[in-house]
Each structure stands twice: as structure tokens, then as C-alpha cells.
Symmetry: C2
Subunit: 209 residues, 2 copies
């Protein structure tokens, strides 16, 4: 296996944390997003969507999309389980992970990419350009506020997003909260449950990645 | 189990097709999206994100997010498998399903909700209002064109999205193609592979739902 990463980017960080929690050691290639290495012909052959993370298997299969890469690692290295314990639990983890990707991670992405000077003409990920749309900055920020509130509400009754165990749903939310720092948004202090959770997950060794 | 559906809406149709392919018969409740039933207090108690599909389990657990609902049904009713056959295959199916949700389904959603007269002030799904942003109509349509091209390229070598078997990746793509009809976009005739695939999947009995 070979893991295509970019150590400064939030999207592959979801997989980096997952790998660290599994205690795996996978040969890693850094892709220089800043200088457009993901847009080169050779990277496109690996992943036509021009995104990291990518996990290349020994038979040459290239898996992109963080959740799909994590699913492969979960099935091939089941211990510790990070995607749920039984059918109901796995579905709940998938639900929260998906929701926090859309409402958290993609909301921050929307605000960030439509604002950053360095991303003019590149407001969408992928090989095609896209003009920035200034209205999306405010809209994205509003969505992030709601994500913070949802996260706080969900964490009122238990230490992690779906209950007693740390899962991929925590990872996606945690990476989204840190990514929100890029647009100068942080968990409001009155979101006590989410703040306590954030301190908890940030102290895990995997968070240092 | 109880399935909360809206028979005219594309998002729960992904689960309707999945249920039909599994040959399941699940008691179904129609939620009247047109008259805002998903925004009522009682529906919010079931799903605070105010979306269908929702699968309510016998213990009261409410699963939302199409992919999470399908995961539960796949694990509890494994035959026929619709989410892959082994670890590698399941990861590939998850990758394509996720990619076609973002690039296909959500791209059509973006163009549609920012244009439809009846959705003024409701450009995003969920309980909060959001103003329409006219630029997103064209941007969404451009993304759909790219989705059509990606779909055609992926289908050049095999009958279904991930190979020889029909999976949830086909379902998401198929529902996105039909949903694109709502914004008057259809697969271009020169996309021969995608067009042949579309005819193939549309002839399955599950497509009638």
C-alpha cells in the first residue's frame, strides 16, 4: 500500500488520524498541493479528481475519497473498530460521519475556497476551475455555526459523537473544527459539551498528525 | 422498521430503489415535503435535519442519510449484495457512490434549489432558510456536465459503474441522472457508454419506484 497525502491539508488528515488510531505504518508520498502537483498528468492518472487522500493498493487500485479509504482500512485492519460495532451502530456512525462531512467539513471548505486569495478561479476542488462566489463565504460561515451547535447538542449525553467510543464521526468533526480555524472560526465557549469533547479528542496522540 | 419517504423526491428514491433491489417490504410513511411536513415539530423530533429518507428501527433509532440507511439494510439483509463483495470492492463502491453523490446528486441539487421559484429562501435543505444564489445555477449545471462525462468514461469497460455487478454506486448515479431532468439536463447522445448503462438500469423493475 502507498498513501498519497499532503501533510498541511485537512482532507487527507481525516485518513492520517484514522491510520494513527489503527496503529498502522503505511509508506506515504507527499503531494505538493501548493505547487499544483495534484493537477499534473501523472497524478491525474492515479486520481482523475485531483484530490488527496489516495490509497494505492498493491494491485494498483487507487482508492480516493476519505470515507472509502477508511472503509478499506477498517475491513483489512478491524482493530480497534472505528466505524461501529454492529449493524445499528455502524449505520449511526455512517450517518453522523456523513452529516458532519456535509455540514461541517464541506461548509468550511465552501467559506474558505470562495474567500482565499490564492484560490481565485479554483473555488471548487478538482481539475476544472471555478470562479469564487463571494456570497458563499457568509453562507458557509452560517452553516459552520449551525454545525457547531449540532455538535454541541449531540455531545450533551456522551463523551463521543455516537456514544462511548471514538469513531470516524469524531474524526470528521474534529478535522472540520480545526479546519474552521482557517476561516477564523472556533467553537463558541458556551458550547460546553462540544468544547469538552474537542479538548478530549485533541489530546489523543492521533491528533498531532 | 418504518421507512419515511416522499414518493416524488429524488433523495429517498435512492433508498426506495435499494429496498426494491433487496426485495424487502418495509412499512412506509409518506412525508408531505410540498406542504412542509418535514419542517414540523413532530418530524424534527425524528430527524432534526428535516430530511427524508429516514429509517426508524423498532428500538426507536432514527437513521437518516441515504448511504447510512442503505448500509443498515445491507448488513441486515446481505442478499443480494449492493455495496460490494470484498474489502477492495466495497471500498471501490463506497468511492464511486460518494463521488457521484457529490459531483452528480449534489450538483443537480445546487442548480435546482437555487433556481426553483418555489424554493426561494430555501436554497439549502434543512431547517434553516438560505437565500438563492443565482450564480450557483450555472455552476451547478457545469458540474452536472462533468458528472455526465465522468460517468461515460467510467462505463466504457463494463456494464455497471464498478464492474460486472449493479451496486449502490449505480443507484446514486441513476437517481442523479433522472433528477437532472428537473433542470432539463439529459445525458448527451454522444455519451454512448453512459446512455447504454442508463437504458440498462432503467429497465430494472426497481427503477419504476
Amino acid at each position: 500500500m502507498k498513501f498519497y497525502d499532503c501533510s498541511t491539508a485537512p482532507s487527507p488528515r481525516r485518513v492520517r488520524i484514522f491510520i494513527a488510531e489503527k496503529g498502522l505504518d503505511i509508506p506515504t508520498v507527499q503531494v505538493d498541493l501548493r505547487n499544483g502537483e495534484h493537477l499534473t498528468e501523472s497524478f491525474r492518472k492515479l486520481n482523475p479528481w485531483c484530490t488527496v487522500p489516495v490509497l494505492e493498493l498493491d494491485d494498483g487500485t487507487a482508492l480516493s475519497e476519505a470515507v472509502a479509504v477508511c472503509r478499506y482500512l477498517e475491513e483489512t485492519h478491524p482493530d480497534p473498530p472505528l466505524m461501529g460495532m454492529d449493524a445499528r451502530d455502524r449505520a449511526r456512525v455512517a450517518m453522523w460521519e456523513h452529516r458532519f462531512e456535509i455540514d461541517g467539513f464541506l461548509a468550511v471548505t465552501e467559506a474558505f475556497r470562495n474567500q482565499a486569495r490564492g484560490l481565485k478561479g479554483r473555488a471548487l476542488t478538482g481539475p476544472d476551475g471555478a470562479d469564487q462566489i463571494p456570497e458563499l463565504v457568509q453562507r458557509g460561515r452560517g452553516r459552520v455555526e449551525r454545525f457547531f451547535a449540532d455538535l454541541d447538542r449531540q455531545l450533551a449525553g456522551h463523551p463521543f459523537v455516537t456514544g462511548e467510543r471514538y469513531t470516524i464521526a469524531d474524526i470528521t468533526a474534529q478535522v472540520a473544527v480545526d479546519f474552521a480555524g482557517w476561516i477564523k472560526m472556533t467553537l463558541p465557549p458556551d458550547h460546553r459539551h462540544a468544547t469538552a469533547w474537542y479538548d478530549r479528542v485533541s489530546q489523543r496522540p492521533s491528533a498531532a498528525t
